[in-house]
Subunit: 342 residues, 3 copies
Amino acid sequence: MPQARVEALSRFLGGELLGRAGQIVDRIDPLESAGPSSISFLSNPRYASQLNGTRAACVIAAPAHREALTLLPSAIVCADPYLAFARLTQWWARQIARPVAPGIHPSAVVHAQAHVDPSATIGALAVVGAGASVGAGAVVGSHAVLEDDARIGGHSRIGARVFIGARCTVGERCILHPGVVVGADGFGFAPHQGRWEKIEQLGAARIGDDVEIGANTCIDRGALDDTIIGDGVKLDNLIQIGHNVRIGAGTAMAGCVGVAGSARIGERCTFGGGAIVLGHLEIVDEVHVSAATVITRSILRPGQYSGVFPFDDNASWEKNAATLRQLHGLRERLRALEKRLK
Amino acid sequence: MPQARVEALSRFLGGELLGRAGQIVDRIDPLESAGPSSISFLSNPRYASQLNGTRAACVIAAPAHREALTLLPSAIVCADPYLAFARLTQWWARQIARPVAPGIHPSAVVHAQAHVDPSATIGALAVVGAGASVGAGAVVGSHAVLEDDARIGGHSRIGARVFIGARCTVGERCILHPGVVVGADGFGFAPHQGRWEKIEQLGAARIGDDVEIGANTCIDRGALDDTIIGDGVKLDNLIQIGHNVRIGAGTAMAGCVGVAGSARIGERCTFGGGAIVLGHLEIVDEVHVSAATVITRSILRPGQYSGVFPFDDNASWEKNAATLRQLHGLRERLRALEKRLK
Amino acid sequence: MPQARVEALSRFLGGELLGRAGQIVDRIDPLESAGPSSISFLSNPRYASQLNGTRAACVIAAPAHREALTLLPSAIVCADPYLAFARLTQWWARQIARPVAPGIHPSAVVHAQAHVDPSATIGALAVVGAGASVGAGAVVGSHAVLEDDARIGGHSRIGARVFIGARCTVGERCILHPGVVVGADGFGFAPHQGRWEKIEQLGAARIGDDVEIGANTCIDRGALDDTIIGDGVKLDNLIQIGHNVRIGAGTAMAGCVGVAGSARIGERCTFGGGAIVLGHLEIVDEVHVSAATVITRSILRPGQYSGVFPFDDNASWEKNAATLRQLHGLRERLRALEKRLK
C-alpha cells in the first residue's frame, strides 16, 4: 500500500486542507470501518452523523460539514467529494500498479502484417491477426484475440480473454474486461420452410473513446451497417447488445441488461440491472430505466421509467398474481356496478 | 468489397431481372441509406413507399411491387425477398472471406490421440484433447478448447475461445461463436445438513446439425442422460441451457434466455430475449414466448404466450405496483359490493 | 463405464442391501429408462409407482418402500436416497476420470515468482502471474489466467479459460467452470459534467472453501473492501455478482441471477434462475427467492418470496396488462362505490 501526506493529496484533489498537513494515510476506507491511518470520504449528506464516530485520519467532505471536520485529525474540503474520491482512487491505483513493460510477449502469436505500436504491450498467448492494429500505449491482455483488421486505439486496456472480431474497432482510453466479445455475428435469419436461413452479418462493431465494457459482455456486429457504441459509454458485466444497436455518448448500463437488434438509445441514459430493450425501438436522451424493466415501445420523453412486479411473501404473491389474470374481468365488473348505480 | 453484375445475382437468387442487366453493385444497404452502387431489398410491404425515394442501383422485391421497380435502374423480382436477401448475404460473405488454410497452427496443442481431418483447420493456441475428433472442413478457432473425446462434425465453425467438454458432440455445419461453453457441469446438489453434496454430472451435451450458438452462451452437460439440442436450433448470445434440457429442431431463442434443468421444448418454437423457462416443464411444438416472459408451467397448446409487467413513467408505475399488492383484496371488496347489490 | 457389485456400493453408501449381493451394475439411470444392468434411485415418494415397472437391477430407496424393493433383483435401503445417489455419482465420476498428472504443461506461461505446489497441475497454455500461488492437488485448466498474487487453495479445480484477477483468492476444494471471471473491476463511476469518472476498484474478491461457480459467471472485485463469497456457496452459470457483495455460507443461486453492488446476502438462502437483487440491500439467512423475482428492498425475515408476472396466452395477457396500467384508478373507483353504498 502507498503512503501519502494529506497535504499532497489535498493539492492533487484541488481541495482545502484542514488540520494536520503532515498527516500520513496508507489506506482508503469507508467512514464506518476507517482506522487511524485511513483516508475516507462523505458524499451522501444522509451519512453525515458518521463523521462523529469515525476514526479516520482524514476525511474528504463538502464545505457544509466544515464544522464537524475540524474535530478530525485532518480533512480535505471539496465541492464534489464523490468526484474527489474517484480521483483519489485513480491516484492510488497508479501507485500500486505493477509497471507494464511495452513489447510483445514471446508466447503471443502476432501476424507479420499486424501493426503494433512500439509503446503498446501484447500479453502472453494473445493472438493478433493480419491487418490488426494496436495503438500507442495500449495494453492487450493474455489470451486476447484480435481478428484480422481489428483496431485498438491508443492507451486502451484490453483485458485477458477479450475477443475483437474482424474489422471491429475500439477507440482510445477504453477498458475492456476479461471475456468481452466484440463483433460476434448478430442474430439474423430468414425463415424458410420451417428452417432458418442465415443472414450473414456483414457490418462491424465500432466502440468509441473512453468506453468501459464489463466482463463477458457481448456486442454483436451489424448485419449491413455497424453496431455503434458512443464515446464514454459504460457497460457492466454480462450485457448483450444486439446487431445494429446504437448507444449515445455517456449512457451507462448495469449488469445483465439486454438490448435487442436495431434499438437506438440516446445520450446520458441509464439502465438498471437486468433491464431489457426490445428491438427497433428509439429511446431519446436522458431516459432512465429502472432495474429489470422491459421496454416494449419507444420512449420519446426524458424521464424515469419502471415496470417491475413488486415482490411479496410467496403466499401473498400467489393470491395477487392469480387475481391479476382476471384483472380485465374485474374492470368489467366494476364498470357494470358503476352503471347500475348511476 | 466485391463487385457483381445484377444479372449474375439474379440468376444466383433464382429471380426475374428487370432493367439493366449489366448494372454493377458493390454494396448491400437498407433502402433508406442505399447509394448509386447499392443493392437493397424490400421484404416488409409496410415500407413499400421507400421504393420511391431510394437511390439504390438494384432492389430485390416481391412481384406485387413490379410497377415501382420498373422505375429503378434494375431490380430482381423474387417470391420471398427476405430469403433472397439472406442468400445474397451468404454469397457476399463468401466473396470477402479470407481463405482459411487447412492444417494445424504450430502453436496449437493437439494430443497425439486426437483425430483431426486433414481438411480441417485448427487455430492458434487451440487445445485438442485425447480422443477428440474434428471433421472434414471444420474450422476450430484460436484458443478453442476441445476436451478429451469431444467431437466436432464436418464443416462446423468453432469460434475463438469456445469450450467443448469431454465426450460432448457438435454436429455438422454448426457455428459456435466466441466464448460458448458446451458441457460444463449441470447444477445439481443434494442438500445434507445445511450443505450441498455435489451430484456429479455424468451425461454429456449433444448438439445437432446446422445449429448456431451465440457468444458466451452455456449449454450444460446432463446429470445422467445427455442434454440435447436439436437440428437447426438457433441460440443467441448469453443464453443458459440447464442440464438434461431437450430443445426440438428449428427452435430459436433470442439473447439472455434461461432454460432450467430437464425442460423439454418442442420444435419450431421461438423465445424472445430474456425469457425464462423453469425446470421439468414441457413445451410443445410451435409455442412462441414473448420477451422477458417467465414460463412457470407446461404449455401444451401451440400459440403465443406473454407475461411482462407493462412499463410506465416511474410515478404511475409506483402507484399501480403498490395497488397490485392489494389486488386480491380489491377482488374481495368488489365481490362484497356485488353481493350487496343483488 | 465402470462395473460394480451392488454389495460394494451398498457398503460404500452405508445402506442395507436387499436381494442379490453379487448383482453387477454398469450404468446409473432414472427409474423409467433403467435397463437390466442399471442402478437407479427413488427419492421423491410421488414417483413410487415407478418401482413397479422398472427394469433396474438395483434401486436405492427409503425404508418406506422396502416391500416394493424386495420384488427387484437387488436394492439398497438408505435413510436419504437422494444423498446416496449424489455420493454414488461421486464414486462413479472417480472411476471414469482420466488421471491428471501433476506438473506444469510445457506450453503454460508460469512466472518465475509464482508458487505452484509440486502436486498441482497447470494445464496447456495457462498463464500464472508473479506472486500467484496454486495449492496442493489443485488443477488449473487449459487457458486459465491467474493474475499477479492470485491464490488458489488446495484441491480446487479451476476450469479452462477461467480468469482470476490480481490479489483475488479461491479457497480449498472449489470448482470453477470454464469462462468464470473473478475479480474484474466493479462498476463504479462518479458523474461529472455529463461524463463518468472512474472509481478504481482497489479491493479484491475472496472465494471461500467448497464453492462451485458455473460457466461464464462473473464476480467483481470490491471498490475498497473485498467482495466475499462464503464457504459452500453454489453459483450456477451466467451469474453476475457486483462489487462488495457478501454471500453467506451455503447459499445457492440458479443461472442468470444478478446481484448488484454492496448487497449482503445471508446463509443458506436460495435464488431461482433470473432473480435480480438490487444494490445495498440486506437479505437475512434462509430467505428463498423464486425465479425471476426482483428484490427491491431488504428482506429481514426468512421465508419464500416471489414476484413474477403470471404468463398467459398473448391476448389475455394484453388485456390484463393494459388494465394493470389503470389499477390505481380502479381502486379509487371501487372506493368511491363503497363510500356511496355506506
